[in-house]
C-alpha cells in the first residue's frame, strides 16, 4: 500500500560538494521526517558521491521527497527502494572485556553461531564485528548484553540494488 509507512532506502547520486549534505538533510528536517540512518561514500563513478538515507515513510510521501532531492542543482539522480528490493548490510561493533572470552564459554558459542568476526584482541578487551541485517545485529547485541558490553555501535545502512542503476548512461546523456 502506498499510504502505509515502511522502511525505504533512498540512494542519491551527487556531485562531491561541500554543503550538499546540509541541503539534503534540510529537506527532511523541514518536513519533520526522522532519518533512520545516513551514509555517504564515493560511488562506482569517479567524482560522484552516493548518499544512502533510510527513512520510514509511505510511498506517496517518499515520491515527493525524491522530487525535492532531485531539484537540488548538484544532485544527479535519486532513487528509492523498499528493503526487499535491495541487498544491504549494516555493521555492528562490540567492545567486550577480554576475560569474558575465556571465562564465559557461552560467548564463544555466540560468536561462532552468529558468524561475527573478532577484529582485535588484547589483554583488556576484544572487538567483535558483525555485518548483516539490522535484526541480526540487534539479536547479537541482545545475546551479548547480559555479559556486559563495554561499547556498542551500529553503522548506517549501505546497499546495492537488485535492478540496474544506469547512472553512467545518465551522466553520458548529461554530458552530450
Amino acid at each position: 500500500m502506498d499510504t502505509e509507512k515502511q522502511l525505504h532506502a533512498i540512494s542519491v547520486y551527487t556531485e562531491n560538494n561541500i554543503g550538499l549534505l546540509n541541503r539534503i538533510s534540510a529537506i527532511f528536517q523541514r518536513r519533520h521526517i526522522n532519518i533512520e540512518s545516513l551514509n555517504t561514500s564515493p560511488s562506482e563513478i569517479d567524482g560522484v558521491s552516493k548518499f544512502t538515507i533510510v527513512v520510514n515513510m509511505n510511498e506517496v510521501g517518499i515520491k515527493k521527497i525524491i522530487g525535492q532531492i532531485e531539484k537540488q542543482v548538484e544532485v544527479i539522480k535519486a532513487y528509492y527502494h523498499g528493503l526487499d528490493e535491495i541487498i544491504y548490510q549494516i555493521a555492528g561493533l562490540f567492545k567486550i572485556k577480554s576475560e569474558l572470552l575465556f571465562e564465559e564459554r557461552q560467548i564463544q558459542n555466540i560468536i561462532k553461531e552468529s558468524n561475527a568476526r573478532i577484529v582485535t584482541v588484547n589483554k583488556e578487551f576484544f572487538v567483535l564485528e558483525k555485518s548483516g541485517k539490522k535484526e541480526e545485529i540487534v539479536d547479537l547485541y541482545e545475546q551479548l548484553a547480559p555479559f556486559g558490553i563495554m561499547q556498542y555501535t551500529r553503522s548506517g545502512l549501505i546497499s546495492v540494488t537488485k535492478d540496474e542503476m544506469r547512472i553512467t548512461d545518465l551522466l553520458a546523456k548529461f554530458n552530450n
Binding site: N22, K64, E70, V73, E74, V75, F174
Partner: protein
Amino acid sequence: METQTIKSTENTTKITERISGSEAIVKCLIEEEVKIIYGYPGGAIMPVYDELYKYQNEIHHVLTRHEQGATHSAQGFARISGKVGVAIATSGPGATNLITGIADAQIDSTPMVCITGQVPSHLLGSDAFQETDIVGISTPVTKWNCQVTKAADIPAAIAKAFYIAKSGRPGPVLVDITKDAQFEEFDFSYEKCTKIRSYNPIPKTDIEAVKEAAKLINSAKKPFIIWGQGVILSEAEKELIALVEKAGIPAAWTILGASAIPTSHPLNVGMLGMHGNYAPNKLTNECDVLIAIGMRFDDRVTGDLNKYAKQAKVIHFEIDPAEVSKNVKADIAVLGDAKTSLTAILPLIQENSHTAWHQEFKDLYEIEYNKVIKNDIHPTKEGLTMGEVINEINIQSKGEAAIVTDVGQHQMIACRYADFNKTKSNITSGGLGTMGFGLPAAIGAKMAAPEREVVSISGDGGYQMTLQELGTIFQQKAAVKVVVLNNEFLGMVRQWQQLFFDKRYASTEMINPNFVAIAEAYYLKARKVVERADLKEAVKEMMESKEPYFLEVRVEKEGNVFPMVPSGASVADIRLE
C-alpha cells in the same frame, strides 16, 4: 596591470589579465551585462566597493537604506524586466538582512544573485567579528549557494550563479566570498556557464503527453484554465492567449500570474484563491478538465485539497517535476517550459467556444459585482474604500501602470481591481507574504523600466517596515508613485480577528505618524486625501508628476476584503460577505 595571453586546452586563445578577486567580481557582473545592483557596504565587502567606485560608469550601485531593501529592489528589478536582479552586502548582519528577500525570491521563483563578503578564510569558524555562516543560513531558501575562498574560483562561481538563478524555474542564489579571496590577485578570464551536468533546468516536452492533453482538452465540456507566474517567466503570454481563444476556455490566474492576459480580455475570468473572484473559485469544483499552466497549487489557491476539483481531470503544464502531484494529483503532466509546451499543443487543439459554460462565469460575476465589487469601487456610504482608490488609479493610468504591492488587504484589493494591459505589471510578494516588500520592490521596478509608470501601493503597516527606502527614492530620483492606504490597522489580521477571534483586536491598531511630514522630510512631494471629493484630483496630480510622489489616502478603518475562502474551507464555500 599585466595582460597576458594563454593557450587553453581547447586551442582557443583566452585573454587573461592579472587582477584582484574584488575587481574580478565587478568584471564578472559586467560580463553578465549587469547595469544596476542594489546593496550596502561594510567591512568584509569593502574591496568590492572600492572596485565599484572605479567602475561606476559601467555599473550603477544603488545604496539602499537596509539590506532587506536591496533584495526587494533586486526582486522588483527582476520581476518587471525578466532579468537577474543583483544584491550585495557585507558579512554578518549585512548577509542575514538579505535572508527575508532571498526567502521571498525562492518561494516566488525570482531570479536573483546575492553576493556577500565574508571574513578572511583563516578566520572562518572562529566566531570572528561579523562572521556568520551565511551559506548554512541561506541553504534552505536558495536555489543554490556556495562559498569562495580563492580568487581563482570567483569567475566560475559567479558564472554558475547567474546561470542557475535564471535557468529553468528561476530562483535566488548566494555567493559568499571571503575577504582574502577579494584581495588575492590571479589571472582573470570569464566564461559564461551554459551547462551543469547534474542540473536539468528544462525537462524536455514529451509530445505524447501533449497529444494526450490535447485529446482531453478537445473532449472537455467544461474546461477551465488556471495559470500562474510560469507563463510570465517563460514569456508564454501570446501562446496562452492563443490557446484560450482557440479553445474558448475561461481562464483564471494566481496572484503571481496576474497581467499575463490583459484584465479586459473577455475570457479572463479573474483571480483564484482566498480573496479571488467568486466565479473562478466556485467553478473550480464544477469544471470537467482543469488545465493548470505554470502554477503550483498553493494552499491559498486551493483551500481544502480534499474538496478541490475532485470531479475534474487535471492537466498540469509544469517546468518543475517536484511540483507535479505535490498538492493536486495530475492525470496528465506535461513537463517542460510553458512556451514550448503551449506552442506544441496549439495545433492539436480544436476550435471551440463553450458559450454556455462561459455564461456560468458571467452569471456568478454578476452576483459578485452586485454584492461586493460595486460597493468596493463605487461606494456611496461614508469613508473611502481601498477599491475606489485602485479604480481611480486605473482610470488615470489607463491600465498601463505597473502596480507594486505590499502584503495585506490593500494587496488583495489591488490585485482584484487593478487593470493590467501589459504583462509583468503586477509585482507583489505572493508565496512568502512579506510585509515591507512593496516600497523597495517599486524602486527596483522603476529603475529597471524607467519608461513605465510604477505605482507602489502599501498599507500603513507594511509601509512602515521599509519606509526608510524613501531615502533611496530621493537619492536615486526614482520617480516611484507611493500610495499608502491608511486604515490605521493591520487590516488583514484585524479582519481575521473580527471574523474568527470575536473582534479581539490584539495588537492590530496602529497609532501612526504624520506620513506626509515623513515623505516631505525626504524631500518628496506629498499629499493626503481624507475626502472622496479630493481623490480624483489627487490621483491625477500624482500620476502627472514627473518626480517621485507620495499620496496617503485615509480609508475606512474596518473595511473587509470579500469574497473570502476561509482558511481550510473548500473553494466552493467561498463567502461573499
